[in-house]
């Protein structure tokens, strides 16, 4: 029965090939490559993107370290913490970059981080932030950015935004994955306290969509799908410098803007602690700090950095809002649930 034998053979051959190849990929996943040490940095995707600070920082740092710097871009800042919790101590990350000061107590509670031992004495951060484990590398103020061609009467306060026309849509980020999303949750809480849930319900009809990260929301905005987006006071500088347009503006709110201090920390289990420390020192040094404002579009933590002209036209913030991180840690779950209920209701 040659035909049968042939088809049987053909079948078992293809099955064998399939199984063998899977063994190869799986084996390959375990194999290590290269002799130079690789420093793996978990960050958010707009940091590691080709237009973000990642590639420039990589080039600058690798030229003096005989190592490979590998950025892994995740959804957004909060997703980095989720990912670390999920992977536990077996994580491949040496550094987590892109958490905010709001998340520090929670990050420390994982006991996965070690003291940075990086000298931060010459850094200047609003509210005088300083921490033994986490190194601040830039900061920015949250703001709603609008398209001045379609939004003629921008909101002047959070109250304006909440009670505004529900047909004028906004895009926001999910506080469960994204730091601006979390920041806005805290902003609402800082301004409205126990009334926040009711205010969220009032705002709900205006929300076109809730995206997992900043990149998605801002992409919807620049594509014209939505006229107002949750971003930063620094965002208009990007459009002025990179695109030569002042069409996109940030709305200054009477209640104040929420402050977001971005931080980086070293994982305890890293085999390259010394190299990681060297990278964080580099990150707050003059060279990296000069790269960040026009790539990550945030403000530097040093006062000896020359900022481009466009930065002097930004919304000025007299009153930074910030909720004490320990209070955030204690209440984040409850506040997130409150948000889910208000925004998820129909």
């Amino acid at each position: 029965m040659p035909k049968l034998t042939r088809s049987l053979l053909r079948f078992s051959a293809s099955a064998a090939v399939a199984l063998a190849t899977v063994a190869v990929i799986v084996g390959g996943a375990f194999a290590q490559s290269g002799d130079r040490p690789t420093l793996t940095v978990y960050t958010y995707d707009s940091f590691s993107a080709e237009w973000g600070p990642g590639p420039k920082l990589k080039q600058a740092f690798e030229s003096g370290c005989d190592c490979t710097l590998d950025f892994v871009g995740l959804d957004d800042g909060v997703a980095i913490l989720n990912r670390l919790k999920l992977e536990g101590p077996s994580t491949k990350a040496d550094i987590a970059l892109g958490l905010t000061s709001d998340l520090i107590p929670e990050a420390k509670a994982t006991s996965m981080f070690m003291d940075s031992e990086v000298d931060v004495s010459d850094l200047t951060v609003p509210t005088g932030f300083s921490d033994a484990v986490f190194v601040p590398y830039d900061y920015s103020y949250l703001a709603f950015v609008y398209d001045s061609e379609t939004v003629t009467n921008p909101p002047k306060s959070l109250a304006d935004l909440v009670s505004g026309d529900p047909n004028q849509k906004i895009a926001i980020e999910d506080p469960r994955t994204s730091t601006p999303g979390l920041g806005f949750l805290l902003w609402m809480k800082a301004v409205y306290g126990d009334e926040a849930a009711a205010k969220w319900q009032e705002l709900q009809p205006r929300i076109l969509t809730v995206t997992p990260g900043w990149s998605e929301a801002y992409g919807l905005f620049t594509k014209g799908e939505v006229p107002i987006v949750l971003s930063y006071t620094t965002s208009p500088a990007y459009h002025v410098i990179e695109e030569g347009t002042d069409r996109y503006k940030a709305a200054g709110f009477a209640e104040g803007q929420y402050l977001q201090i971005e931080v980086a920390g070293i994982l305890k289990e890293t085999p390259h602690a010394e190299l990681a420390r060297k990278f964080l020192t580099f990150l707050v040094g003059k060279e990296a700090q000069s790269i960040l404002p026009t790539t990550n579009w945030a403000l530097p933590v040093r006062d000896d950095i020359d900022l481009p002209e466009a930065f002097s036209d930004l919304v000025s913030v007299d009153e930074p809002l910030l909720i004490d991180p320990d209070t955030v840690a204690k209440n984040r779950r409850a506040w997130t649930d409150e948000w889910l209920q208000a925004v998820g209701a129909r």
Partner: protein
Amino acid sequence: MNTRTDRQIRIGAGIAAALLALGFLLGGILVLLVVSDQAPDVVAPLADPYVRSILGFTLMQAGLSTLLSVVLAIPLALALHRARFAGKRAILRLFLLPQALPVLAGALAVITIWGRNGVVSDGLAAVGLPQLDVYGLTGILVAHVFFNMPLAARLFVAALDRVPAEGWKLAGQLALPPFTVFRTIEWPALRSALPGASALIFMLCVTSFTIVLVLGGGPAATTLEVAVYQALRYDFDPGRAIGLSIIQIVLTALVLVATLILGRDPAGGFGTGGRARRFDARSRVRDVGDGLVVVLGTLFVVSPFAAILVSGLAADLTRLVREATVQEAAITSLLVAAAAASLSLLVSMLVLMAIEALRFGKRPGAARRGTRIGLETATSLVLVVSPVIVGAGWFLALRQVTDVLAAAPYVVVATNAVMAMPFIVRIIGPALSQANAETGKLAEGLGLTGAARFALVDWPAMRRPLALAFAFSLALSFGDLGAIALFGSSDFVTLPYLLLQRMGSYRTADAAGLALILGLVTVALMGLVERGFAGREETGR
């Protein structure tokens, strides 16, 4: 070896294979329940208003999707069955395609056609109507109807095909008016298929993951399945993930029980129809009406494919194909699909052969029947314990002993394999069963055992459906996002996962190009495998 030993070996192997599949499906969650120190909290999530609203939304969207799919499928099936034209078989075959099309590519196509900047919105805007908002319930419904309406139509056409030829002859001889034909012949046939079809579609929509993830648009439009994923990837809250999983398992089990009570075979109906001849009196009006319904229905099914093609070709395909990430992802996807399909085929065949072996032997006792039903149920259980839940269980269980992401490829392959089992069993089962009914007694009498019996009885019967089954499971695994969504990482990227990432960063042109590549590879895989395995002598069914 005598026939009895042969039977025992077959039954033993089948039970072992079924247990393996069952163990994998439930293992993750069970290990977790045993290992974790606290009892899973099912009550607390149910008391949470947000979870209740998710549950409500899950049921509502599934109910509406089912209703729309079924209601739209009925006139289409009637028209298709009645109309006489050359391309009928081709259309019925075409209606098989949405099930093989990667869901993610389909969802993307739905955005292209029905989205704010899509063809339909432009048309509406041109006549002064508001644009469609595809993110949310509308988008979910459109996508679910696209994937399930053709399925329902096929099931209904198959039901009409089962009407004995005499019925149509008699109706023709008596020159019954159309409505009487509908009332006396067509409707009873449709009604017999209605509960099964509705229950199957409801089940598929309850556990829908990719469509809801992509078109949901935030917390207001989330299903349980997506909530399980978010509980792990957004909140990292294992307790909530397990609680939600258990709620979902209970819900789907209830639906499956309802399916079994209401209809016979929840995933049957793979026939491509075209058997029964009809003798209705011809009527110009009805011909035109039927033609219109068929054209509209076909347009609806074809339009997403056209959208994928058009927007995909607009992307920079040559750059995409040369990108190392894309190539690696494609290779990973192919390997995962090949491994999953082979594994699935092996396990399903063992189970099926055991089911057949249980036919013969002494008298058919209750224990035997129980074993048979047990084996049959084991292959369908993935409909209840959905891929995301299987993945979530193993994710949390493995996390306690090893680096989850290193074990990811195994879990994804195994999850895809169990996912394909219900389809494989339903494609190969009937053929194998028929072969055993025809030649089984003879084989028993001749004392055929082992390889000879496999080669003479089972293999010839299985070979053609095997090809279709293998092609289907390849396509299913190749396009799957459910398992990889949890386990994907920068070290383990499949094509659908890469597509989701590119969509996430709104690199729409890239996403459209990848969707086209995904669709083309799927179609090529199916064609190749079907041709390669099916042999040359028979074509068409």
